[in-house]
């Protein structure tokens, strides 16, 4: 047991030495005259050799012994250190690492005896004359003075050397004295305890505010100390990023040698501190990016010289703190990224379509490298083409709440990868919000990293601020439509569907670079919170990042914004929302919004936006087939799909979707929802339709000029009929919608039409009377509160004609017993149910 403890100590010591060894040997190659460096490397080997001999690790001892002897020769200037020797030494370091690993896991040196390496080391040791003889003559002249002085002061040399060693050893000893190895678990526990202390302090502060002053003073001192303690404990988890960077010089050296390149690595800001957990998380992505920069970025010396650049390539690593984040930049001065080449490759791999490629600008094209299954190297090298691409880097960085971006350097050659990551995962600033449900108040935390802004709508704005794009709430945020989600609905908290409070709080957040709004019941303040994992058992809950303990000692859940976005059905990949504002306003009586898209040979097809319930970009693999139809599992329903291009071309085009992604327009509501697959969404245009020509095609209503070009208008009703089962098709009924304002009636019109009901609109009772004669409605819908003209005559006609009278408004000038049914604005499903199931009255001519 005691021996085991000692072996572990030896292993830790070795590991400490080896971390520096790699770096030092590489440095030594660049500055072979650095005596202190040689001494340091020598010492590390020496220490390992000495201790491992004591434990009886013979292979390890043999390797380190020869390596030490070679270094001894270098140290005493008997031979220079050349590339061959450096390579050999590095190889020894690798062997030592492997053996130490083996000792750590199996307590033995492992099956390999490294005979080959040992033989080569031995050879190099005794072949000294040969090596020394060959390169020395050339370097004799510049070397002579130093070597002579060295030999002259051969006797006095030892004293200064030990002196230097002594001071350094002293420094090192001082270093060792001030650091101590602590288990991260212990730090986590300390952190918890400090959190608890903060809590108790808060409670104490509240309790003592009106009591005697001496106690108050003590409590306040406790307050300060606790804050400092918390800060201090947090700091213990921090490590300089240099910990990860240390191994990079070696990585680059090996890489450069392998590809025959010359690369100089520069590091700035290695002292930048990061949380231990983040350091662990960025280790692999960072190494990968640096490998990429060397392998794909920096060219061969010949190519560089031909391009007028110095033969030695530069790779710059930079780290710095900014705005609560750590920025890491990896810059190379190589050939940079070729957008055209990237596009071609993505096309060849089937990741994008031709038309997508044409529309991409340089920035977008460069972002292609983050697509899964993308690898730019023409030939897969052993270094960076192992199928682990930039997409993995991106996912890993995003997993810890970071952002990664790649760009060509403007005005210079080469490219830069920027990584932005939070300082720590343990403590994050968060906004405390609450959601109400039947008498209960739930507190949640939204991470500040996801937060864009807060919007508060009061009084009038509160009532009218939220609008609906076919049932989906949206908010106009500086002219852009912001999709909204109600927190209590997403989380299935029982409460009022549409809160009647005059104040609406919207938290604007960003998930996957796409903003959306969360409607909450209240906003408190921002706080630094300690993130605690929910545990494996609750991992399935995508809506939470974790939990935290609030100042009052209660637990609050931290919302996972991307998870919440997915949960609330925000399209996984959003369209560029800025395009929604490209509205072309034209003088017209009734402007309408159209969604313009292309499908097959039809380059411009439009559908009224009011009839569109959603736009989705889906993976083609999600499309399934059931009883000969294309369908898709969509929000717990089976969504029938129509491939518009095939329909328009009379089944000419194949139904199969070669593309990875399909653009889907979801029309209709509830069970009558249908997905129309189109090629490309072009724009959203708001204007009144000025010209119409009827179309022969069943899928199209006709043509009109939309957005200045001839555009075909999609027949949504036909789409719905085509997609729905014959049993579902109800007998078409006519409903007369009566309302003073066109905006009001047309809103009802759209959703009734979508449900297969014919609609007539009347803006006065006079008009309604006339229409009742012509279109023989089964029911009349009164949507306005008070109409100017007299309703009595219409009501009499309706009664006699067997027309059901339905009220939609909250208050009517007419007494409610005049109506056959009353519905509020939100009771769409109920209204539809009533309309489709009500018996056809005897008096009606239908």
């Amino acid at each position: 047991m005691e021996l085991e403890e000692e072996v572990r100590e030896f292993l830790i010591e070795c590991a400490e030495g080896l971390v520096h060894l790699d770096q030092e040997i590489v440095q030594l190659e660049q500055s072979p005259d650095d005596k202190a460096l040689v001494a340091s490397v020598f010492r590390t080997f020496h220490t390992i050799k000495g201790t491992c001999g004591f434990f009886g690790f013979m292979t390890l001892s043999a390797i380190t012994h020869v390596a030490e002897n070679i270094l001894d020769q270098v140290r005493s200037d008997q031979r220079p250190l050349n590339a061959t020797l450096t390579g050999l030494l590095l190889e020894s370091v690798d062997a030592i690492k492997a053996i130490i690993n083996s000792i750590e896991t199996t307590a033995t040196e492992g099956p390999l005896d490294y005979a080959d390496l040992r033989a080569r080391l031995e050879f190099a040791l005794h072949d000294m004359a040969l090596i020394a003889a060959a390169p020395l003559p050339e370097t004799t002249l510049p070397c002579t003075p130093t070597s002579t002085t060295d030999t002259v002061v051969a006797a006095p040399v030892p004293p200064p050397a030990p002196a230097a060693e002594d001071t350094e050893a002293h420094n090192r000893a001082a270093c060792v004295d001030t650091t101590i190895r602590v288990d991260v678990g212990l730090l986590d526990k300390l952190m918890n305890l400090v959190g608890e202390l903060v809590l108790s302090r808060n409670q104490l502060l509240q309790g003592t505010s009106q009591q005697d002053t001496s106690l108050l003073r003590t409590v306040q001192r406790l307050n300060v100390i606790t804050s400092e303690l918390q800060e201090g404990v947090l700091k213990t988890r921090m490590q300089p990023i240099g910990v990860v960077w240390n191994k990079l010089p070696r990585v680059i050296r090996d890489l450069a040698t392998e590809c025959g390149k010359k690369i100089h690595l520069e590091m700035q800001g290695a002292e930048t501190e990061l949380d231990k957990t983040i350091i662990e998380a960025i280790k692999d992505p960072l190494t990968h990016v640096v490998r990429n920069a060397c392998d794909h970025g920096v060219e061969t010396p010949e190519a560089r010289l031909a391009a007028g650049k110095p033969a030695v390539g530069e790779v710059l690593l930079r780290a710095f703190h900014e705005g609560g984040h750590v920025h890491i930049e990896i810059t190379d001065d190589g050939r940079g990224l070729d957008p055209e080449k990237l596009k071609l490759r993505a096309l060849a791999k089937g990741l994008i379509r031709q038309d997508q490629a044409e529309q991409m600008d340089e920035r977008e094209a460069i972002q292609l490298v983050f697509l899964p299954g993308f690898s730019t190297a023409e030939q897969v090298t052993s270094i960076s083409g192992r199928g682990v691409g930039m997409d993995v880097v991106k996912t890993n960085i995003e997993k810890i709440g970071g952002i990664v971006d790649i760009a060509n350097r403007t005005g210079m050659q080469g490219s830069t990868v920027r990584i932005k990551i939070p300082l720590t995962l343990a403590i994050i600033p968060g906004l405390i919000i609450h959601a109400q449900s039947a008498g209960e108040e739930h507190r949640f935390v939204i991470p500040q990293a996801n937060l864009l802004e807060l919007v508060r709508l009061e009084q009038d704005a509160g009532r009218t601020g939220i609008e609906y794009v076919h049932g989906t709430p949206v908010f106009r945020r500086r002219g852009q439509l912001l999709p909204l989600t109600y927190l209590n609905r997403v989380l299935c908290l029982e409460g009022e569907e549409f809160p009647t409070t005059p104040v609406i709080n919207i938290v604007v957040v960003q998930a996957e670079e796409r903003p959306f709004g969360i409607v909450v019941d209240g906003i408190f303040d921002t706080q630094e919170i300690v993130v605690k994992a929910l545990g494996r058992r609750l991992k399935g809950l995508t809506s939470y990042l974790g939990a935290t303990i609030m100042g009052d000692g209660r637990v609050a859940l931290i919302l996972d914004i991307p998870g919440l976005a997915r949960l609330s059905g925000m399209a996984s990949q959003g369209r560029d929302t800025r395009r929604l504002d490209n509205t072309t306003k034209k003088s017209g009586e009734d402007p309408q919004s159209f969604l313009v898209f292309s499908a097959g040979n039809y380059k411009r097809v439009a559908v009224p936006l009011a009839l569109v319930s959603r736009l989705e970009q889906i993976e083609s693999s999600r499309i399934e087939h059931a009883s000969g139809r294309s369908v898709m599992h969509y929000r717990g329903q089976i969504l029938p799909l129509l491939h518009l291009a095939s329909l328009l071309n009379d089944q000419h085009a194949s139904e199969s979707m070669p593309d990875a992604n399909a653009q889907l327009i979801v029309v209709g509501e509830g069970v009558r929802q249908t997905g129309v697959i189109v090629d490309h969404i072009i724009d959203i245009v708001e204007e009144s339709v000025t010209f119409r020509r009827r179309s022969e095609h069943t899928c199209l209503l006709g043509s009109a000029i939309v957005g200045g070009s001839i555009t075909d208008i999609l027949d949504v009703a036909a789409m719905l009929t085509m997609a729905s089962d014959s049993t579902q098709v109800t007998e078409a009924r006519t409903v007369l919608v009566i309302g003073e304002f066109a905006s009001c009636t047309s809103m009802h019109r759209s959703f009734l039409e979508m449900s297969g009901i014919r609609v007539c609109e009347a803006h006065s009772f006079e008009q309604a009377l006339a229409l009742a004669e012509i279109c023989e409605p089964a029911a009349a819908l009164l949507v306005s509160n008070n109409m100017p003209d007299n309703s009595t005559r219409f009501i009499t006609v309706a009664r006699n004609g067997g027309i059901a009278l339905i009220s939609i408004a909250d208050k009517h000038t007419l007494p409610s017993d005049h109506f056959d049914a009353n519905f509020s604005m939100n009771q769409r499903e109920e209204l539809l149910h009533f309309l489709t199931t009500m018996p056809v009255a005897a008096g009606s001519k239908q």
């Binding site: 305890l193 608890e196 739930h442 929910l534 494996r536 058992r537 609750l538 939990a547 637990v555």
Partner: protein, 154 residues
């Protein structure tokens, strides 16, 4: 029952069990697995979580999920005043709290009083119970904690 336990049973050894009541059922769980017992704690409900997970409690700075034993066993909610008690047990994934009606004594139970679950116990309850110990005056159900949590978190 594994082999060592079988051997210990033959030797007439006994094991300490922490006991608790749920409705009219009397349960036991190995005392070594129990970290602590707490009276009713305020909980933060987790929307969208499995029904049996009643919420999170703050256990001295640690967040611990509380599992409703009644709900998992298919029993009606706790009617009495005061709310359920917490038995904090240790699992591979950190501590978990079991919400029970009331806490009983820690009993020294001889291993040879063990009997398998009778066949007529409803299937969904049988899988949660590892066996029965015949005590002097009553039967103690041995809770199969891992399976129990699995069912609760499903």
């Amino acid at each position: 029952m594994n082999i060592t336990q079988e051997r210990r049973k033959v030797r007439g050894e006994s094991v300490q069990f922490a006991t608790f009541h749920v409705e009219n059922l009397f349960f036991g769980i190995e005392a070594v697995r129990v970290q602590e017992v707490l009276r009713y704690q305020e909980m933060t409900p987790i929307p969208l979580a499995p029904k049996a997970i009643r919420g999170l409690i703050n256990l001295r700075g640690q967040t611990v999920a509380a599992v409703d034993t009644r709900c998992t066993l298919g029993l009606p909610p706790h009617p009495g005043p005061g709310g359920p008690m917490n038995i904090i047990i240790q699992t591979d994934d950190g501590p978990i709290s079991l919400l029970v009606d009331s806490i009983g004594d820690v009993l020294e139970v001889p291993l040879n009083s063990y009997a398998p679950v009778p066949d007529n116990v409803p299937a969904h309850q049988r899988e949660l119970i590892a066996g029965v110990y015949r005590l002097k005056d009553r039967l103690m159900h041995l809770l199969r904690a891992e399976r129990f949590l699995e069912v609760a978190c499903h």
